[in-house]
């Protein structure tokens, strides 16, 4: 599978979809600002961001509903400039599903095939295969309004897959489903992607959806990509304070660098009234203000003093929320600062060592490797 335009390119598969310095302006508003990214063949890629971050505009440019103001989009080596949606090897699953209300399930799924030169029997076979893929074989003659939300979602998926596009775009694919159904559908979607080998680009504002579905995630904010990496690396090693606070929950405190020996840094955190030891990754701007961040589940909490004395802080339980599998505590430090701590309820009925209740005196300790340091952000 070589790129016909760049025969010498070894990494053509990694650049199956190539977005190069793409901007989109609506009047004075810049929805997408010089975004560049490459998506590999067969990848399940997610664009994650809050509403208005430009992810949907980027998706609509891939589909051809919007033309970039500048920059170019290449799909399988072919420049998409000026190519209308109906000529692109791209199909989209719409957030509202956009099923044709006057057509049956099989007419919906077969609609895209009508525009290809395809024998009637072959078309029927393809529709049947799609119905099997999404397990809706018994619903072929139903009208969309006779289906449940989950079934409609699967019809929309089958319709978008029927033309075997090079790229499938999914706009908030699980957004309209209830929680139980989402979980199940999430895995189905990933399976279908694996089976068909089609490149998926998912747009979502739901980080859980992005994390479980995608092999790589691009976090977008204000029209730019803040970080592009695997879900694990984005969660554990966020590149910026914005990404750290956008993904998951995090304790954020202003800090100052006291001492650094390259591998380890000592930072003063005035708000907490302590000096913390943190593992250093890369160079830190000396003297500059830092942000120190740690995730609630990375903090160890105990009611007896632990063995370690590294990054140890005493505190009092202010309040807590019990979620069943875990609890979220808010611990008040002597300085008055609040630290959020996540503790797993792994022992049935609770264990005196780890679970605490209101007014309990507890000790918090943080692994130096779990502390993230960020320089000041522009």
């Amino acid at each position: 599978m070589g790129d016909p335009l760049n025969p010498g390119d070894d990494h053509a598969a990694d650049r199956f979809i190539s977005v190069r310095a793409v901007s989109k302006r609506f009047g004075d508003f810049t929805a997408v600002d010089r975004v560049s990214l490459d998506i590999g063949k067969g990848e399940l890629f997610a664009l994650l961001g809050s509403s208005g971050c430009g992810k949907t505009t980027l998706l609509r440019m891939l589909a051809g509903f919007e033309q970039p103001s500048s920059g170019s989009i290449l799909i399988d080596g072919q420049d998409m400039a000026g190519i209308p949606p109906y000529h692109r090897p791209v199909n989209m699953m719409f957030q509202s599903y956009a099923l044709f209300p006057h057509m049956s399930v099989e007419q919906n799924i077969g609609y895209g095939l009508k525009h290809e030169r395809m024998a009637r029997s072959e078309r029927a076979d393809r529709v049947a295969a799609m119905l099997d893929l999404v397990q809706l074989r018994d619903y072929a003659r139903r009208q969309p309004h006779q289906l449940s939300g989950g079934q409609r979602q699967r019809v929309a998926l089958a319709r978008a897959l029927a033309k075997q596009p090079k790229l499938l775009l999914l706009d908030e694919p699980l957004g309209a489903l209830d929680k139980k159904l989402r979980e199940q559908t999430q895995f189905e979607l990933a399976n279908i992607q694996y089976e068909t080998g089609i490149t998926f680009v998912v747009v979502t504002h739901d980080q859980e959806e992005a994390m479980t579905l995608a092999s790589r995630i691009a976090i977008m904010n204000r029209g730019t990509i803040k970080q592009l990496d695997t879900p694990k690396r984005i969660y554990e090693f966020p590149a910026s304070r914005f990404v750290a606070s956008f993904i998951g929950s995090v304790n954020l405190f202003a800090a100052e660098l006291v001492r650094s020996d390259g591998d380890w840094a000592e930072i003063a955190v005035p708000e907490l009234g302590v000096t913390l030891r943190a593992q250093q990754r890369g160079a830190l701007p000396t003297k500059a203000a830092l942000t120190c961040a740690f995730r609630p589940e990375k903090v160890r909490m105990s009611r007896r003093p632990p063995d370690t004395s590294v990054n140890l802080m005493p505190g009092v339980v202010l309040d807590f929320g019990y979620f069943g599998k875990d609890s979220l505590y808010r611990i008040k430090l002597p300085s008055g600062a609040l630290v959020r701590v996540n503790a797993t309820n792994d022992l049935r009925g609770g264990d005196d060592e780890t679970t605490a209740t209101w007014e309990d005196h507890v000790y918090l300790s943080i692994d130096p490797a779990a502390i993230m340091l960020f320089g000041d952000e522009a």
């Binding site: 719409f94 956009a98 044709f100 525009h115």
Partner: protein, 303 residues
Amino acid sequence: MKPAAWFDRRGWSDVIIGVPYVWAIAFVLLPICIIAALSFAVPVMNSPPYEFPRAWPHLSFDNYHRLLADSIYVRSFGVSLLNASIATVLCLVIGYPMALGLTRVSKAANRLLLMLIVLPFWTSFLLRVYAWIGLMGNNSWFNRLLTRLYNLVVPQAWHLGSIQIMYTNFAVIFVVVYSYLPFMILPLYANLEKLDRTLDEAAMDLGARPYRVFLDVTLPLSLPGIIAGGLLVFIPAAGELVIPGLVGNMSDPMIGAVISEEFGLNHDWPMAAAISVALLVVLVLPLMAYTRFQSRADAGGRA
């Protein structure tokens, strides 16, 4: 449920639903029954100018016999339905692009254009028809302009002194289309405006060129609007009395003029009633078909 609570109180809902029912029975159903009864009477030189036969069954079917036997009635029915059909199709052909255009322009332009469509209603309908008479008449500047343009393009042998527009069937259809166009555009617009534009995008995404999107998605989904607009034009156009009376060909009248003549000039109330009943049947049948279609579509559209 809260805001409707006062409406749900016993008695209130009965009264409120009852008022239009009483209205419809007193001023629509009852007159229709009187007309229907009248159509089985015979005309007499008296006041009132009709009576029912003395012999059993006290009903005369002569009027309906005449309706079918005398070619003038059948012919004017034909002229009326033909004119109304042509006018409806023309209104649809002219109105559909306008209604579709209304959904595709900016909000400001949309408001302005909608106002322009409704604007003619601010002027008396009769005045507007007279304005057209002024324009179409053989000695008007408009007619002279048309005649000159016509004479420019056709050979000398076909030259005309003026183009005869007034007192033709063309003039009737033309003015009917002019008068009823808003009644086609407004329901169509209301329907097209509700359509989900993502469906267009979905069709385009699946490979449909714009004209296929229109044929496969927009047109079938706007069928209720087409039918509503079509009926709003067709039904009044078929019974139209004023326009053919003012600009039409008197020797080939539409059915409205015939009814008016029987009532007024001929004092034949039973005959006029019989024609009215026949017209009602002809016009109500498509309406019933429509309501059936509508209720089926509603049942189908329920999510």
